[in-house]
């Protein structure tokens, strides 16, 4: 269905060109819009009378049918004058073109949604892509924008508008929170450019909506059937980013680090690992001071002097705290091997907490 705004824009352009008033009703006899206020009150019960004819003259007016796939969509009304009839026919043509474009967009929207959600057979992907004139061999990347609040259509509109001049971009909403941009890129597109696009989406959505937005992107898909993989990678990047890199609101599938591995672990194995490392002393039970000490010690590359300076404590106090941690867990994080085990275990705990919060 076309928006009233776009129909009004079309009518205004026709009126500008010819200088005649024109109005449009829906098939349900509802007034849509007009260049003149009088059309709103003129509608009579006409649908049945206009069932057969494309053009009907009645009470000094001429009515034209606008159909889509054989079904009446709109009625265009003009004064019964030669100029009026010209305007009427032009408006019908214009509305039919707009409906075709809208249908085309709907078809593409459907195609990409089904492609991303793996709802298409391989053979259908190629045949439907060809039918919709979508280049099947062009490399593409899926960018995923995840909103914190349900989208009422504004976010989708913003992203579509942002890339409106790029005919090789496609934007769709896969659910109420996730908007996907599928962008055609060069096969060897620089990471910098992909990051820039992701940042642009994040910053624009945040500016317009004043809402926290996370944006991620997958790897370059060499052809159309692999676009779903790029989308899945972007989805994974968002989730891994939320757990292990919560301060970043743009994240690439290519920069997930060890978080990528931990995210793939089955929960029973994680539980086994944690009980092996910490026995009954889960990091959940550590007090805030201990956790801050551990995090700062890791952040400062196991450097005692630098860590104590950052924590505003004496070096000996830090050593005392590290000894305490060793007594609690049996791990001496001044020792490189123990530090690695501890660091990974902390990440696993974070992952487990996230999964529990998600009720997975």
């Amino acid at each position: 269905m076309l928006s009233n705004q776009s129909i009004m824009n079309c009518l205004m352009k026709v009126k500008e060109a010819i200088g005649e008033e024109v109005g449009v009703y829906t098939s349900a006899e509802v007034f849509v819009t007009s260049t003149s206020t009088r059309h709103a009150s003129e509608m009579k019960t006409l649908i049945r009378k206009l069932d057969v004819n494309d053009e009907t003259a009645l009470d000094g007016k001429v009515y034209y049918r606008v159909e889509e796939l054989g079904r009446l969509q709109y009625l265009v009304t003009v004064d019964d004058t030669p100029a009026g009839r010209t305007v009427g026919k032009m408006t019908v043509l214009q509305l039919e073109t707009m409906l075709n474009l809208d249908q085309d967009r709907y078809d593409k929207d459907n195609f990409f949604k089904n492609l991303l959600l793996d709802n298409l057979l391989l053979v259908d992907i190629y045949s439907r892509a060809n039918k919709l004139k979508i280049d099947i061999h062009a490399p593409r990347v899926a960018f995923l924008a995840e909103l914190t609040a349900r989208d009422n259509g504004a976010a989708l509109e913003i992203v579509r508008s942002l890339f409106a001049d790029d005919e090789n971009c496609y934007v769709t909403a896969v659910n109420e929170y996730d908007i996907v941009l599928i962008r055609q890129v060069k096969a060897d597109e620089e990471e910098k450019k992909l990051l820039k696009t992701a940042e642009l989406i994040a910053d624009t959505l945040q500016t317009e909506l004043m809402e926290n937005v996370r944006v991620s992107y997958g790897k370059i898909a060499e052809e159309i059937r692999k676009v779903a993989n790029s989308y899945k990678e972007a989805k994974l990047a968002i989730n891994v980013g939320k757990i292990f890199n919560p301060e970043a609101n743009v994240i690439s599938y290519d920069s997930l680090g060890i978080g990528r591995l931990i995210y793939q672990l089955p929960l029973p194995m994680c539980k086994l690992f944690i009980s092996e490392v910490f026995r009954d002393q889960s990091p959940d039970k550590f007090d805030e001071e201990t956790l801050t000490t551990i995090n700062e010690y890791f952040a400062n590359s196991l450097n005692v002097s630098e860590t104590s300076r950052k924590l505003y404590i004496h070096r000996n106090t830090l050593v005392y705290r590290l000894d305490k941690i060793q007594k609690m867990t049996g791990l001496d994080i001044r020792n490189f091997d123990d530090a690695i085990t501890f660091k990974i275990a902390l990440m696993v705990v974070k992952y487990m907490r996230y999964m529990e919060d998600q009720n997975i």
Binding site: S161, D165, K196, A202, D203, E208, M210, E211, N212, P246
Partner: protein, 366 residues
């Protein structure tokens, strides 16, 4: 218009990373305040907490007389300008500015009024019918600002809005933003890692490091009286020269002894501070700005002897680079200097403007 108050604000992410620690700041109405610091210092996180895009882990954020910790970002009456901006390519300037308001279902007449008011402030009324392609870089940036101005917010938050622009446009836009602040009379909080931007735009500057406020002061005060070694090194371009040296007392005078054995006597009042602080016989970090160095005849007492490594003509001035006890030193001198690479030069230092920092705490002694 509104002032802002941040009380003991802390941000701890779910992975335990502490981005901002105990941040306290009062921002007056109509103030242009700058958050500056190296990347990862917590400046953008603080701004995002004010905007409501990040949750505040502890502390309070007040906008005007309203506690906004639990207020949705869109209800905080603020507008935010980010680093990455793009105009909607198929829309005119008018539509670009009106787009956000349309999405918020603002009545048409109201949109028209707001867009024209913002266009007047930005001096882009004559561009309203143009598409972005027909605009210069500076005009586009102004339209991007316009998209925020039309919202008529109480506070503007700007997160490195100029960092993607080329050097020339950046300078031009810096002036534009300064003018804009005067015209709008709104509170602006501006984040940058560029100390030149900070110095030229802000009425007050907040220097941050590792999520902790180092110093809050006017640009002049920050430059002349940095509170610690970090601020001293961060503010000023080229940065302050910092050399670790010993403090010695001989007779009534106190002197810095540089690692190469060179003695630099310091004024009595400053010597007194070092004596009272128990620094005689200990190391301190000696700081002096490149513009406080002058070429002096050979053999002049209280000078640093240098073999010039690099000569950089900047037009109105020359930067001379040399090493002193494995520290890189920069001197800013007049273009008439005859010093060239490999030449030997003696520099005197304006002792009224010298600084000293504790080597352990890095706090300023004077």
């Amino acid at each position: 218009m509104a002032g802002l108050s941040l009380k003991n604000v802390t941000k701890v992410y779910s992975n335990g990373f502490v981005a901002v620690k105990d941040f306290n700041l009062e921002i007056a109405d109509k103030e242009f305040i700058i958050f500056v610091g190296p990347s990862g210092c917590g400046k953008s996180t603080t701004l995002r907490m004010i905007a409501g895009l990040e949750e505040i882990s502890a502390g309070e954020c007040w906008i005007g007389d309203r506690l906004v910790n639990d207020v949705e970002p869109k209800d905080r009456d603020i507008a935010m300008v980010f680093q990455n901006y793009a105009l909607y390519p198929h829309m005119t300037v008018y539509d670009n500015m009106a787009f956000g308001l349309k999405l918020r279902k603002v009545p048409k007449a109201e949109i028209d009024k707001l867009v024209h008011e913002a266009a007047k402030i930005l001096d882009i009324e004559h561009l309203l019918d143009r598409k972005p392609k027909a605009l210069s870089g500076g005009q586009r940036q102004r339209v991007a600002m316009g998209r925020c101005i039309v919202r008529n917010p109480k506070v503007f938050l700007m997160d490195e809005p100029l960092s993607n622009l080329d050097a020339k446009l950046r300078v031009q836009m810096r002036i534009e933003i300064s003018k804009l602040h005067q015209r709008l009379g709104t509170t602006i909080i501006y984040v940058t890692h560029d100390q030149t931007e900070a110095m030229t735009l802000g009425t007050r500057i907040v220097v941050l490091k590792d999520g902790i406020i180092q110093q809050v002061d006017s640009p002049n005060q920050l430059y002349a009286h940095p509170c610690n070694k970090f601020v001293a090194g961060f503010i000023g371009s080229p940065q302050m020269n910092l050399v670790d040296c010993d403090v010695e007392e001989s007779g009534n005078s106190v002197a810095f002894v540089l690692p190469d054995g060179n003695r630099i006597e310091i004024p009595a009042d400053k010597g007194e501070i070092l004596k009272n602080g128990g620094y005689i016989g200990k190391k301190v970090c000696f700081g002096f700005r490149p513009e406080d160095m002058d070429e002096a005849p050979a053999g002049t007492p209280n000078t640093i002897k240098a073999t010039i490594r690099v000569y950089e003509l900047m037009g109105a001035e020359v930067f001379l680079y040399f090493d002193c006890a494995e520290q890189n030193i920069t001197a800013r001198v007049a273009p008439s200097t005859e010093a060239r690479p490999e030449s030997e030069v003696y520099f005197s230092i304006n002792m009224d403007h010298i600084h000293a920092f504790d080597v352990d705490t890095e706090e300023a002694l004077f």
